[in-house]
Amino acid sequence: MTTFTPTTAAETLSTVQWALAEEAPLEVIGHGSKQGIGRPVQAEHTLDLSRLTGVTLYEPAELVLSAKAGTPLAEIEALLAENGQQLAFEPMDYGPLLGEAPGRGSIGGVLAANLAGPRRLKAGAARDHILGIHAVSGRGEAFKSGGRVVKNVTGYDLSKGLAGSWGTLAVLTDVTFKVLPTAETETTLAVRGLYDEQAVAAMALAMGSNAEVSSAAHLPYPAVARVNGGRFGSDATTLLRVEGFAPSVTARLAMLTALLKNAGPLEEIAGEKSRLLWGEVRDCAPFAGNDERPVWRVSMAPSDGHAMVMALRRQTAVDAFYDWQGGLAWLRMESGEPEADLMRALVKKHGGGHATLVRASAADRAALPVFQPQPPALAALSARLKGEFDPKAILNPGRMA
């Protein structure tokens, strides 16, 4: 049992080549903040990228930043903030949900897990902002894809191909992201007391307006009681975020207020409080903590999610809240049982999508498909792709199986 901690891309390559020659599988980790997601990896050795660090290029005017894969996300976000910029897709931090300290993720992990946040509706996910990568395949070869400019269609987009691959195709050594200006200000409009179905309708109305809402979430009770220090009490709350230049935010908020004046009692949450609130939604704060109750992350068409949750509630006790206009449902199974078959059957029945068991005991994660099983032809294609990158299955074997 050896842990390799390379500090250069060349050392990373050499480690993978050694593992390949020995046919000794590697568990690939950055800082380990998401190690508890996926099937437990059966690997004798660990490839730890936490010392492969450093920002290698940052040009604010060109909107690009490159960093070695193990660079802490927190360090990158701090650097961007100094220049009034950000990763617009606001990558979530799984740490608190998995009972770990916050702020531990790496920039490579952001891509490997294809992280996103509440601004997903407007700004997309990591896959939408990745411009280029350097990586080492399971074949023991260093390769690159993409570039360091914001517009590029030269060759297959393998950078996107590695998004959400959880370290099972290649080991990222260097990533380049598009960065964008941070909004000058933000204000959240909260609508109080809506049932899920009403909230989904209100969010669709808001998102389809010219108010340019960048995030839309709905927190029923009891999830709502666990954000912003309990300020919302026990009333379900629907949140709509408006970001931009101050005069524009004021105008759009007025537009939104007029649009939703009959929806329910309205309340404005400005500035820092708004930012904190969306940070809590992003990091799934209502279910955070040292808690083994299973948590599902379910992605469906925004109008479909609540009907699936309603059907699920009829069969088992669930604590739920919604992001992405209702298209992302976070669900905690109060009985302690993951109910994977039931969950996936209901997702399918209510219009399709996918469900990932992001928090569960190691035993459940070993026994159940953590990631959504795919139809046979698609599963076969994914398996062939894995074979082309990592034919000996030495990188995170079994993690996504």
Binding site: L20, R120, L158
Partner: protein, 498 residues
């Protein structure tokens, strides 16, 4: 065709042409199979008209089942297939092959569903880019990516090329606006990637498919995201004495946290050609003309117009006009939008290139281009998506003069090499196709290209789908799959281990 080596035609396939045509007619009845030379002429090239080739036969299927059966048949009989949408590719992505079936998707021309609550449209791949906007504009929505061929180009072709357009700095490329596709693999399997939900599960095959230039599968349905049309759009027309000042102005706008809906630059030859053509009052005394369009709520647009104007003046602009009406805004754009035909008036032929550079390298690249222009004795005019560094040099030549096409191509290749040398890339939005295929080694080494080709092997191990495009040299999948493992090699001795 000027010195472009395509895969050697398979003589066995050529000899079986009559049988193949008959077999395809059994799959796609009626007028869906086109085989006479006269009728096939319409398909012999795409938007890159310097290259022409008649296909073996043209098939225009109407159903997914037909696409699946055609591909399965071709796969079983080792017949090559070139997919084609509307044929507007500027890189020869849909250039036929002598021994290949040309699979034309134009009959897939229906919008299948419009879902306003989720803001998505499901369309067949032959629907035009603009057709999607037309279908939803009454409700105030639009589809954001707007390649200049949007009136003709198909949404399926947009997926194949990952098409961009003037608005993509703010609103993204095709890849950022497509949520799902249905596609057929070369073996006839039909698969779906993504859907109406915001992210797809598993490996990002949708990300790999988008921009894969018809080499991995044939798209039979596309689900795109639509956006609410902005309340207002206003533009500034700004002239600078030097391209350095224009470039710095763009950098300062972005530095101020402003991402305009569109930001276009033209150099002196392009300005002159455009003004001669459309006469909208472009200033002729400047070296760089910038059009900055701001869109959104009226109050935001007014607020930002003032800021951009101040930035322009600070950078020494000699002209700065602000559109006071929709007509004036459109007039600002008229010259830019007519830049290609305008250049077409001053030169018998022009060759449009498409590199991307880090924006700060613009003066260096323009200078290099002037030197190359002298070397090759050919003029060049530049239009530039300034926000994202995507450069479209238009090389002026006369195809009737012996050797000029070859000179223009060599000039173009040198420009792209220059783009790569300054940290840029070969193509920002037009694709590699056949045009830039042989330049791929400028950007990628053999290992990089091999890994890309291995992705191809996962989708189409026989290299039957659109061969001869994108990759300069095709290597067999069996060869690519071979592992070179050196047993007993010790891991890097300096790696810290715990």
């Amino acid at each position: 065709m000027s010195g472009l080596a395509m895969p050697k035609a398979d003589s066995e396939t050529m000899a079986r042409r009559a049988t193949i045509v008959a077999d395809l007619r059994a799959i796609v009845p009626g007028e869906g199979v086109v085989e006479t030379v006269n009728e096939m002429r319409a398909f012999e090239s795409d938007g890159l008209t310097a290259y022409r080739q008649l296909p073996l036969v043209v098939v225009l299927p109407e159903t997914v089942a037909q696409v699946s059966r055609v591909l399965k048949y071709c796969n079983e009989h080792k017949i090559r297939v070139v997919p084609r949408g509307s044929g507007t590719s500027l890189s020869g992505g849909a250039l036929p092959l002598e021994d290949a079936v040309l699979l034309v998707m134009s009959r897939f021309n229906r919008i299948l569903s419009i879902d306003y609550p989720n803001r998505v449209v499901v369309a067949q791949p032959g629907v035009t880019n603009l057709g999607i906007t037309r279908a939803v504009e009454e409700e105030g929505f639009y589809y954001a990516p707007d390649p200049s061929s949007q009136i003709a180009c198909s949404i399926g072709g947009n997926v194949a090329e990952n098409s961009g357009g003037v608005h993509c700095l703010k609103y993204g490329l095709t890849a950022n606006n497509v949520l799902g596709i249905e596609m057929v693999l070369m073996d006839g399997e039909v698969i779906r990637l993504g859907g109406r939900h915001l992210d797809a599960e598993g490996y990002d095959l949708l990300g790999i498919m988008t921009g894969s230039e018809g080499l991995l599968g044939v798209v039979t349905e596309v689900t795109v995201r639509i956006l609410k049309k902005p309340d207002t759009a206003r533009a500034l027309l700004i002239g600078f004495p030097t391209s350095e000042q224009g470039g710095q102005c763009v950098a300062d706008i972005i530095g101020a946290g402003i991402i305009p809906g569109g930001m276009e630059m033209m150099d002196a030859p392009a300005i002159r050609a455009a003004e001669d053509f459309v006469q909208v009052g472009y200033p002729l005394d400047c070296e760089a003309l910038l059009i900055v369009e701001l869109d959104g709520p009226a109050v935001e647009v007014d607020h930002l117009i003032g800021q951009v104007e101040a930035i322009a003046i600070r950078n020494g602009s000699t002209t700065c006009r602000i559109s006071a009406s929709e007509d004036e805004r459109l007039a600002f754009w008229a010259g830019r939008k007519a830049a290609f035909p305008a250049v077409g008036r001053i030169s018998p032929d022009y060759y449009c290139m498409d590199g991307t550079i880090p924006r700060k390298e613009l003066p260096r690249v323009l200078h290099g281009m002037r030197e190359l222009s002298e070397k090759y004795g050919l003029g060049v005019a530049n239009v530039f998506h300034a926000g994202d560094g995507n450069l479209h040099p238009l090389i002026l030549y006369d195809a009737n003069k012996p050797g000029e096409l070859e000179s223009a191509e060599a000039f173009g290749a040198d420009i792209l090499r220059l783009c790569v040398a300054v940290g840029g890339v070969l193509t920002g939005e037009h694709g590699v196709g056949v045009e830039k295929r042989d330049l791929m080694p400028e950007m990628f080494n053999e290992t990089d290209l091999d890994q890309q080709m291995r992705v191809k092997c996962a989708f189409d191990p026989g290299h039957l789908l659109n061969p001869g495009k994108v990759f300069p040299q095709l290597r067999r999948c069996a060869e690519l799959g071979r592992m070179h493992v050196h047993k007993g090699q010790v891991a890097f001795p300096d790696i810290p281990r715990f």
